[in-house]
């Protein structure tokens, strides 16, 4: 069940990634070697995800696969991930603001330079 859920959750991401690389390749944003590199990478990830259940069955009962309730380390890691998401979101916003400022600056400079050159 957990593995079905894992596939269910990761399949859209993998599909999105595949769609993305196909699109980028079709509109010539990435080269052929880069396309194949990305394709192989995502197909490998898909294979690993699909194969995780049989591999689990194969290795079940082995000491390394034993799992307990969340440890302190797990909780710390989860907290760190949430925090990272928070930081990333903040950075994204700052980047967007800077992007906007640069765009406005570029706009004004372009208009002023064109006016100065007697064309505007």
């Amino acid at each position: 069940m957990r593995y079905a859920l894992l596939l269910l959750l990761t399949a859209p991401i993998v599909l999105m990634a595949l769609l993305n690389i196909f699109t980028q390749y079709k509109i010539k944003r990435i080269s052929k070697p880069r396309f194949f590199h990305q394709l192989i990478l995502w197909l490998l990830i898909s294979t690993l995800l699909v194969a995780s259940f049989p591999v689990y069955n194969l290795l079940n009962g082995k000491p390394l696969l034993d799992s307990n309730a969340l440890s302190l380390l797990d909780i710390l890691q989860t907290t760190a991930i949430v925090y990272l998401v928070y930081i990333i979101n903040n950075f994204r916003r700052k980047i967007e603001q800077n992007e906007r400022t640069i765009r406005d600056l570029h706009q004004e400079v372009s208009i002023n330079l064109s006016s100065r050159n007697g064309k505007g």
């Binding site: 079709k26 509109i27 570029h106 706009q107 004004e108 372009s110 208009i111 064109s114 064309k119």
Partner: protein
């Protein structure tokens, strides 16, 4: 009444002069005081030189259609234009259609009027119709805006729209985002049928349907991001 006609242009050296001349000729016999502005989006050819029959604003870096249109609107705002007309630099729009759209916008008191190629889709390839319909549907699903041709380059902006409208997208996704911003600002959005001229040149210059995937991705991202802002 001062009209500013904005033409975002990227590598349009072979047609830009004719596009500007056509507009000037059409508007010269009207009561409007008209200035044609070509926003040269860092073209690598002679677009700027060939457009010397118009006011040329040269972008220092390539911004995309959204960025170039935004610069044109800013120029019009600084020049206190009453209306702005935007049209594509590839010659797919008739100057007479631009004039009809302007008169319609004035008549119905529209803040943003879209010249719709899909109300009379003569000459448009089925693939293009499909792509445009798809993006228009996405625009409706994401933003609740019901227009027939969200991606049309022929638009009329009132002075209110010039003052109020701002968008973040710099690429072609600005078309849908702009409509969304207009809706949020309670602007009066209208449509008017136009006929696009499809030549081999304008077909080659148009955006590919594959690019629509990028546009959709960008719009979805924009919609989600703005939910948290």
């Amino acid at each position: 009444m001062k009209i500013c006609i904005v033409i975002p242009a990227y590598n349009e050296e072979s047609v830009i002069r004719d596009v500007v001349d056509d507009i000037k000729e059409t508007f010269s016999s009207t009561k409007y005081f008209c200035e044609v502005v070509v926003v040269n989006d860092q073209s690598t050819d002679n677009t700027a030189e060939n457009a010397n029959n118009a006011t040329v604003i040269n972008h220092l870096i390539n911004q995309g259609a959204g960025g170039a249109t935004s610069t044109g609107l800013r120029y019009a705002e600084l020049g206190k234009a009453n209306w702005v007309i935007t049209l594509d630099g590839d010659g797919q729009h008739k100057a007479s259609d631009a004039l009809s759209c302007l008169e319609q916008a004035i008549k119905v008191n529209a803040d943003l009027l879209i010249g719709s190629r899909l109300l009379s889709k003569e000459g448009m390839s089925k693939v293009k119709v499909l792509g445009n319909r798809g993006l228009t549907l996405i625009t409706y699903l994401l933003f609740g805006i019901n227009v027939t041709d969200s991606q049309s380059g022929l638009r009329i902006f009132s002075q209110k729209a010039i003052d109020v409208l701002e968008w973040k997208s710099t690429g072609y996704d600005f078309c849908s985002e702009m409509l969304w911003r207009a809706k949020k600002a309670n602007l009066n959005i209208a449509e008017y049928p136009i006929q696009a001229i499809y030549t081999d040149y304008s077909r080659s210059k148009g955006q590919s349907n594959w690019n629509a995937v990028n546009i959709v991705k960008s719009l979805v991202r924009r919609r989600i991001v703005e939910m948290f802002e």
